[in-house]
Symmetry: C2
Subunit: 152 residues, 2 copies
DNA sequence: CTCCTTCATTTACAGTTGTAATCGATTAAT
DNA sequence: ATTAATCGATTACAACTGTAAATGAAGGAG
């Protein structure tokens, strides 16, 4: 399988990529139109982001006459994974559970999603621990947090 | 309840905040020591971030003699929520379910976490939809994605 | 063949971020 | 008292981001 590159996608770039992932193939005009409506970006702004993404290899530009047809150079799948990895790198490992629970509460989910979630959760039940260690400070835990009294 | 400010916390700032959230009270020396070990940051680097966080009100500096005792000016809870909101603002709404499932698979969870997750999931079961609409492009759905054939 | 339109490319520019040295004031040590 | 160690504040600086105008090249309209 293709090694998923560790790409850093900015907020603005996500918007472009999402359009391209959705349309699979798109001209700059199409992308510009979508984002003019969705984000109220000037055409020049969208062009800048397209250019930067092409330079970084996140967008592929296939010459079509004198124009280009753009397509994704990175997978949505992998990009989403990178983004979640980043989030979980930021927050305290102890906060993961509650954070995921909040996400579930907030998200709009399909029946299929629910099944996926249930399966993932069931798989976890066997390997649950008593206390998740805090990873905010290396070495001996110095947590003062109430919920962390067992954290050492 | 306190209105949770819409704060933007950078990667580096997360590190500082996590130390302070963990210790609850900390001198610059303590913060510097932790991050020197954990991130190999020079003391000056950590000082810069502390200064920026104080200026933004994310860290509170209580004068203690000629030094300061730092404490958090924003809640960990709210900050984590902001970060997850941002993530879900970036990705396609259709990707949420799978993304959360991946998180569950990857996370280290406690028994308590599992219960939270199960409760959140159960609560969702009643309101699951057949198809989550894609929100990448406004207006009529133009999704070319295979999984999106029902998306309109 | 000439002008307008359309793209892509180049340039602009301020604000943010990561990374850090230096400076200035103050305290602790000699 | 003089010196050394701290600590906060100021300054530095390049890369990245968001936002966009200007420019150049090439095709389409007339």
């Amino acid at each position: 399988m293709a090694v998923e590159e560790k790409v850093e996608i900015t907020d603005a770039e996500w918007e472009i990529m999402r359009v391209v992932w959705t349309l699979e193939q798109a001209t700059s005009k199409e992308i510009i139109e979508v984002l003019q409506e969705k984000k109220d970006w000037k055409p020049a702004t969208t062009k800048t982001f397209i250019g930067r993404l092409v330079k970084k290899g996140m967008l592929l530009a296939a010459p079509q006459g004198n124009k280009f047809i753009y397509s994704a150079g990175i997978s949505e799948e992998g990009s989403v994974k990178s983004a979640t990895d980043r989030l979980f790198g930021q927050i305290c490992s102890r906060a993961a559970g509650k954070t995921i629970a909040d996400m579930i509460s907030k998200a709009l989910l399909s029946h299929e999603d629910i099944q996926l979630l249930q399966a993932a959760l069931d798989a976890k039940k066997s390997e649950a621990v008593d206390t998740v260690p805090c990873n905010c400070i290396p070495g001996q835990c110095k947590c003062k947090k109430e919920h962390n009294i067992n954290c050492h």
